[in-house]
Symmetry: C2
């Protein structure tokens, strides 16, 4: 049995929020996901960077126990994203996107990655997601993210991927666009009828919902005194969620609910600083302490 495998992007981000800015800092879905997951389990990473990607970032990832055998370094520049947040921190406004080496990315899967226990298909072209899925032995759990660009532009290819996965992890705007319905319960019914066993809807500062058959689990986001930069919160959530699941192997409803809270905990730390800076100085005790605070946040007594 292998590890948790993630395919996604690595990037340089330039981000402006009302609380500061950061230029050409480490970012990307695979970066946030794998760093977050690395607090719980071993991670195998597939991504591409350009010749401008500095060794120090790779050293950071390696020191977190992330396997970079699947990281391709190519001629050209690394993917760059520039975005801005207003006080309405829930949604970024993209100012610039330079795909660079990501434009012609075709994920190659090292021999050692071919039998993953769990797989996370980060937000890339659905055709590439399908390609990865076809090249590995079917993992016990496959989860997937996407974005409106693919929902609008590659709907059929995306649905083909969704038919083959276990867990779809998207935000509420994406869910409404994919289900073509404003009501999330109706959207969940529709998506779950096509294949995924679980639909996880990320709502940023409002928390998260998980739909499983007719069951729903809902959790608020952890209320924070200061949110500096929401970039990567969704991928950090997914990394904590999948990492915790991989570490326990507990795929019961209770196990998934706890994984949702661990994902929320990781996201709540990540938004406290720019880039992955908060995750660089985080330990398992802080994580478990915040899990307990989450319990206190949401607990109420049952009817007797």
């Amino acid at each position: 049995m292998g590890n948790l495998l993630v395919v996604g992007s690595m990037a340089f981000d330039t981000v402006r929020t009302p609380f500061g800015e950061a230029n050409d800092v480490l970012g990307g879905s695979a970066t946030y996901f794998s760093t977050s997951a690395s607090f719980f389990t071993d991670v195998d990473l597939i991504a591409v960077v350009g010749e401008d990607f500095p060794e120090e970032h790779l050293t950071f990832l390696r020191e977190r126990g992330i396997n970079l055998a699947g990281l391709e370094r190519r001629d050209g520049k690394t993917f760059r994203w520039k975005g801005e947040y207003t006080y309405q921190l829930n949604e970024a406004q993209t100012l610039e996107t330079h795909l660079n080496v990501l434009e012609t990315f075709r994920p190659k899967i090292p021999e050692a990655y071919c039998d993953p226990n769990m797989l996370f298909l980060g937000n890339i072209d659905p055709d590439l997601q399908m390609d990865v899925l076809n090249k590995v032995t079917r993992p016990s759990i496959v989860a997937c993210d996407t974005m409106n660009f693919w929902i609008d532009g590659k709907r059929d290819a995306l649905w083909k991927v969704l038919e083959k996965i276990d867990i779809l992890i998207i935000n509420d705007g994406e869910a409404r666009a994919l289900g073509e319905d404003p009501n999330l319960v109706q959207v969940a019914k529709q998506i779950l009828s096509k294949g995924p066993k679980h639909l996880i809807i990320k709502r940023g500062e409002y928390g998260v919902l998980m739909f499983t058959g007719k069951q729903v689990f809902g959790a608020p986001a952890f209320p924070l005194e200061q949110v500096k930069d929401p970039t990567g919160a969704g991928d950090t959530f997914a990394g904590g969620f999948m990492g915790y699941l991989a570490s326990t192997g507990d795929l019961t409803d209770e196990g998934l609910r706890r994984a949702i809270i661990y994902g929320s905990v990781m996201a709540s730390f990540n938004v406290e600083a720019f880039s992955l800076d908060r995750l660089r100085h985080l330990d398992r005790k802080e994580i478990d302490d915040r899990f307990r605070e989450f319990k206190r946040l949401t607990h109420f007594d049952d009817l007797s």
Copy 2:
């Protein structure tokens, strides 16, 4: 010891949502509040209506055990509100407001109401809220609602009221406007330093937060397959919350948390139909069943 006393508006609402419309139907903050609270406790109501207000609405309220001794009927027309919701159901767009008899409303408090156990100051002019507060023996709990119109236009008068109350119940936009800060944790700190012991922030389809000192309680809204009309959800929440508190007298943190869930349950029923139509056909068993579903919605196992 007296009852739960509410002062607020009674209205005819004309509402359009993507799922239908309703013309000149029963509405108003005191109406929603008292009907919701009446499932848990006895309610004394103070409000004003015009000569156009039909007997059938009064009969409905009386049959729910609501005391109308403080309902004033005056020459002129009842307050009228006309609003519209898009698929983004969280916020109404007001199309018309006709204050009518509400314009010169000065709450009169019948002798029998002068020693209330609990008091809810619905969303009216802060000067009138203060007037009511001064005319009754201090209840064990005073809660208060307001709106941006008063936050912007009568800020000083409003703060004077807030210094004297126990619980402020407002939505997130109002909280940010009152605290002049986008961060709700910072807003809560500031508001709680001025007097109220609890700040309850309603977030519509995203649920509710309650701040008490450094403690926070958060609950998602109940996910519904169909939301027909969000009008009155906030007042229905407040009515369920205060009504349940009045019925138990349990003002511990645990008691308040359960009251928040009962408020959320009542609001979740109310939005399933236009006006108060869902509350007209509701019984305590349905309420308790949904409370249990709320527990199932939010529960996860603690760390062992």
